[in-house]
């Protein structure tokens, strides 16, 4: 029977330090690859409150560009079953039945301040980050879909089929719930969400992203200058996506 020796880590560390010191002294030409050269960023802070401003008085083709950009960035889309395929952002067309007036706008996760999806999640997988971005912690999501029942904007999708070819910044898997992350991986690098960038690249200012808590940001100035609407404010969930023209 082989014996299990307890590893004396302190002794090992000392021996290793001694050995490496000797090695470096003997072979100055050898260099060790240093990992962790990137500085860590974060944590997210409640000093910021990320939000979006969407101008619905825009040609509806712009929203198709936004949807395609999201698909490309986050790795969803391309299925052939619209009822079960995930849809993180969608173009919604509205028509007033009495007057015939029409409008269209993109609807995605509204990143509410009092998100009903976070309240109902039994494991706490549905969460709100300190800076207001609402996410699904897929490590502990059990796929019960209660958050999908609770969301007033129907913006969450359940992954009904096996997934492959995920983007490295956006893990996605069968049996968990997912929704717009406001491109948190880009936001943390100081960039805009992919949909905003794609729309702005066409020359349109129809989508704007920024820190609602910063009085000097473009978005704060815009929402102070114009009265904006948010979808279903009567519910009191305080979405962070503002709209003009609906």
């Amino acid at each position: 029977m082989t014996e299990q020796k307890t590893i004396d880590t302190a002794k090992r560390a000392f021996m290793k330090a001694g050995a490496s010191a000797a090695a470096i002294a003997i072979a100055p030409g050898v260099s060790l690859y240093s990992i962790g050269a990137h500085a860590a960023t974060g944590p997210a802070s409640s000093a910021k409150r990320w939000g979006m401003l969407v101008d619905a008085n825009t040609d509806e083709g712009v929203w198709d560009i936004a949807v395609e950009a999201c698909k490309k960035e986050q790795g969803w889309g391309g299925g052939n079953n619209p009822a079960t395929d995930p849809q993180w952002i969608r173009k919604v067309s509205i028509k007033d039945p009495k007057t015939g007036a029409k409008a269209s706008l993109p609807v995605m996760c509204q990143h509410c301040d009092s998100p009903p999806c976070v309240d109902v999640c039994p494991t706490g997988a549905s969460m709100k980050r300190a800076d207001g971005i609402v996410l699904v912690d897929k490590h502990i999501c059990i796929g019960c879909r209660y958050c999908m029942m609770a969301c007033p904007y129907s913006c969450r999708s359940f992954v009904h089929e096996p997934v492959s070819g995920q983007k490295p910044h956006m893990p996605r898997g069968k049996g968990t719930v997912e929704s717009c992350t406001m491109c948190v991986h880009r936001v943390d690098k100081g960039q805009n969400p992919a949909c905003v960038d794609a729309v702005n690249a066409t020359g349109s200012q129809a989508m704007m992203f920024g820190d609602l808590n910063d009085p000097n940001s473009d978005i704060s100035r815009a929402v102070s200058k114009f009265v904006t609407q948010r979808i279903r404010t009567d519910l009191g969930v305080e979405p962070s996506v503002h709209y003009r023209g609906i």
């Binding site: 029977m1 082989t2 590893i7 880590t9 090992r12 560390a13 290793k16 060790l32 690859y33 990992i35 962790g36 990137h38 500085a39 860590a40 960023t41 974060g42 944590p43 997210a44 969460m127 980050r129 300190a130 800076d131 996410l135 912690d137 897929k138 490590h139 997934v163 070819g165 995920q166 983007k167 490295p168 893990p171 996605r172 898997g173 069968k174 049996g175 968990t176 948190v184 943390d188």
Partner: protein
Amino acid sequence: MRSAIKFLSLAILGLAILGGGLASPVNAGEVPLPNPAKAFKGEQCVEPVDVMRRDHMTFLKHQRDETLREGVRGNKYSLNECIACHAVKSPDVAGGKVRTLKPFCAECHAYAAVSIDCFQCHTGAAQ
């Protein structure tokens, strides 16, 4: 009384089998020891090998919460950093065209029969 004797004899039998199994030298040529793929780059991981072997799951578990829930990115134990060094090409994965973590992680995990959940969602492939 009879049932006590039955129980005792079964227990002794069980211990004998177990003892006999353990008495033989580890790896008597039955199951080959795992051979995880050598890293794509780098001479040393962020922690010594023995520390990583024992604790990598703890590091990953705490790191995932730090990154996802708190927004801390680029730390020592970041999964993307693991992929950067440890993802290698292998003929049984995508015809040897893509660098993935599979030849590295799967080796020991298959040997130890510890199934991992990570790659249902995480791609594990270097871009």
